[in-house]
């Protein structure tokens, strides 16, 4: 088996001011809620630093470690030590090849990378620290539970470039690769704008998708910019209203649907008016195909007593009901 890293067992104290911290992934972990720094600092306050930091000596390494020393493990311990005003810190100096470092980072983080977003951000991080595509494909993708091929790496990198607010949302909801990828086809500005609505409307996974699809379709159809869409009177009115979050969400959904399906919405309104005017008083409901494709009305009666059956029969032959049904059918 290839030996990928050599750990020098001595623990030395060095000045950490010149350390290269570019291998720090903890910011992403915090963003995703996978790491709680405050809690960790509390534990260090009690126990102090028990494990030495790990640094690599760039001179003994491959092409991506450029500084004299790079910290690979212990970023938060270092931050705590800085906060405490320490001058020195215990470290282990390791010699690692690029692939050895990659294996080390994987062993450190892989158990945390359970969602598509977390994996995407980790893969992007690996590229940012200078590990080449092929090494990532060969070494990192399978341990992350992914098939090792370039196309899949590229898809993850596209996901990693989504706006931060959306990434945390997708991570929390544990969205699949396919779902996350769908967002990558949407205008970035639109995604940012929609995520900014989160404090006013309830965004479920399906509603978020519906909003993105609908708004980008409306914008494209009408050659409209994102800001112009949010200036549409009905949209502004709903989003700026004082109603509660749940009602606002429902109302916003209705407005979006009206704008996306203007023809269907108009005809549905007309059909409902006919239903109300002609069939309102009768003891049955009329259902039609809301896509307007099929010419088929379903007449539904709810009967509790046998006597109600004759009411239903006679109501069906009422000229007003017949006229209503005839008018409804004329739309199909």
């Amino acid at each position: 088996m290839e030996r990928v890293s050599t750990v020098t067992p001595e623990v030395s104290l060095i000045s950490f001011k010149g350390l290269d911290l570019s291998l720090d992934f903890s910011g992403v972990l915090e963003l995703l809620g996978l790491w709680d720094t405050a809690e960790f600092f509390d534990s260090l306050d009690i126990s102090g630093i028990l494990c030495p930091l790990v640094i690599v000596d760039a001179r003994a390494s491959g092409n991506f470690v450029n500084g004299p020393y790079k910290l690979v493990d212990g970023f938060k311990r270092l931050a705590w030590a800085r906060r405490k005003g320490l001058d020195t810190i215990p470290v282990t100096r390791a010699q690692m090849t690029d692939r050895g470092l990659l294996a080390f980072l994987l062993s450190k983080y892989v158990h945390l990378l359970k969602t598509c977003v977390a994996r995407a951000l980790f893969l992007k991080f690996l590229l940012q620290i200078g590990i080449d595509d092929q090494a990532i494909i060969d070494v990192a993708m399978r341990p992350l539970g992914l098939q090792a091929y370039k196309g899949l790496l590229e898809k993850h990198l596209r996901i990693a470039d989504l706006p931060e607010e959306l990434l945390t949302f997708c991570h929390k909801k544990d969205f699949s690769l396919k779902r996350c990828l769908n967002f990558t086809y949407q205008p970035r500005q639109l995604l940012v704008k929609i995520m900014a609505l989160e404090d006013r409307i309830s965004l479920s996974a399906s509603f978020l998708q519906e909003l993105c699809d609908s708004i980008s379709e409306i914008m494209k159809r009408n050659e409209m910019a994102v800001e112009e869409f949010f200036q549409i009177e009905e949209v502004k009115e709903v989003l700026g209203s004082d109603i509660d979050r749940s009602s606002k969400t429902n109302l916003f959904r209705q407005v979006i649907r009206r704008l996306r399906y203007p023809i269907l919405s108009k005809i549905q309104r007309e059909l409902k008016e006919i239903e109300k005017e002609y069939l309102g008083p009768f003891p049955f409901e009329v259902k039609w195909d809301e896509s307007l494709e099929n010419r088929r009305l379903r007449i539904i009666a709810s009967i509790k007593h046998i006597g109600e059956l004759s009411d239903f029969r006679s109501s069906l032959s009422n000229p007003k009901a017949e006229e209503g049904i005839k008018r409804l059918l004329s739309y199909f």
């Binding site: 086809y185 379709e217 409306i218 494209k220 159809r221 996306r260 399906y261 203007p262 023809i263 269907l264 005809i267 896509s291 307007l292 494709e293 099929n294 010419r295 199909f332």
Partner: protein, 370 residues
């Protein structure tokens, strides 16, 4: 059209059309491409394996379908229409042509002779354009010549191109219909990339009409855009200011439709195209279409333009539409798919007796099941 590579099956290496290619490789297998666009640049000419003759795959009993038959011997197309279903259909995208006329005609003859009373309209456009691969037009010529003697068959070549010259001197006996998919110049420019302009298509129509071929017109897919109404009126005027309605055997009308997976493909492959951004509904056949009221408006308006252009004598039908749409557009609808098949055979027999010499037996058509 310049191909990056041409591969010819060794069994076809002695065919005339092979000599038209400067360079080609002999191989039994397709070079196999998976990228839709990449495959368009690599031609594989092969021999026939298995059946190629069947009824149009779009046939769905929930819609009225013209029940045309097809020879699926072309796969992929050098043109690049944004709405083309092939971008979500082909596994091997290599532009493949089965150029084995004898074997194809034998299969057609064998299958169509089982129903000698029936007029088989047979297209070659199911998975590609009939006349887009110019070096292979010799193959189209062979088919035209062979169809001349197939009594109950009518060959349908359908194209968005204009390469008709090689067909003009062929003895066709009225047994080949050359058809064009037509759209306004705005749509051709934006959505039918690499195809012939409307002007060139109409010039080509004029040439084949002079050569005595019946012409088919397919206003399909009709596409909505700002000013579509005037654009389709101008389109009809442009065609019928040059082409006599007497030369037009049939006219089909249909609107843009695609399945949900295709929607994503179109948006990814052609991000500038706006065709997927229009209001659409998902039909029973899992295809998005414009809402029915809009489709009816489009068809009715087009029909009025056709009537105004004197084309009411042509057999006009809707492609893949619902019964109620037929009723609302035409005021009537065929009673079944078999009935439509009969009506088409009847009109061809009456208007183009050379194309369909025998009178169609209504009862047999009406008894057809699909």
């Amino acid at each position: 059209m310049k191909f990056k590579s041409v591969t010819v099956h060794p069994r076809l290496s002695d065919r005339n059309f092979v000599r038209d290619f400067d360079r080609y490789t002999l191989a039994e297998q397709s070079p196999k491409f998976s990228d839709y666009r990449q495959g368009k640049r690599h031609l594989f000419i092969t021999s026939k394996k298995g059946g190629l003759f069947h009824i149009c795959a779009s046939l769905d009993p929930r819609y009225i379908c013209c029940s045309t038959h097809v020879i699926s011997h072309i796969s992929n197309c050098p043109f690049e229409c944004t709405y083309c279903f092939l971008q979500n259909y082909l596994t091997d995208t290599t532009l493949t042509v089965v150029a084995d006329t004898d074997a194809i005609v034998e299969e057609i003859f064998h299958k169509t002779s089982l129903q000698p009373w029936r007029l088989f309209r047979i297209g070659t456009w199911e998975l590609g354009d009939s006349l887009a691969i110019e070096p292979l037009n010799q193959f189209a010529i062979d088919l035209v010549s062979r169809f001349k003697s197939l009594d109950n068959c009518l060959l349908k070549l359908r194209t968005k191109g204009s390469a008709v010259e090689p067909l003009l001197d062929v003895e066709h006996g009225g047994k080949t219909v050359i058809s064009w998919t037509v759209n306004p110049p705005e749509v051709i420019k934006r959505e039918e990339i690499g195809t012939a302009s409307l002007e060139k298509r109409i010039q080509a129509m004029e040439k084949v009409a002079r050569a005595g071929y019946p012409i088919g017109l397919h206003f399909d897919p009709m596409i909505v855009f700002n000013g579509w109404e005037t654009a389709y009126e101008d389109l009809v005027d442009a065609i019928f200011s040059v082409i006599e309605p007497e030369n037009v055997i049939w006219i089909s009308i249909g609107s843009l439709r695609f399945n949900p997976e295709m929607k994503k493909k179109i948006e990814n492959n052609y991000p500038a195209s706006k065709i997927t951004a229009q209001e659409m509904v998902l039909g029973d056949d899992n295809k998005f279409r414009y809402p029915r009221p809009l489709r009816e408006e489009m068809y009715s308006l087009l029909l009025s333009f056709l009537k105004a252009a004197g084309a009411e004598q042509c057999f006009v039908y809707l492609c893949m539409e619902r019964w109620n749409v037929w009723e609302r557009v035409f005021g009537r609808c065929p009673r079944s798919i078999g009935h439509l098949d009969y009506l088409m055979a009847k009109t061809v027999h009456e208007r183009f007796p050379n194309s369909a010499p025998q009178s169609p037996p209504k009862d047999l058509y009406m008894a057809l099941t699909y």
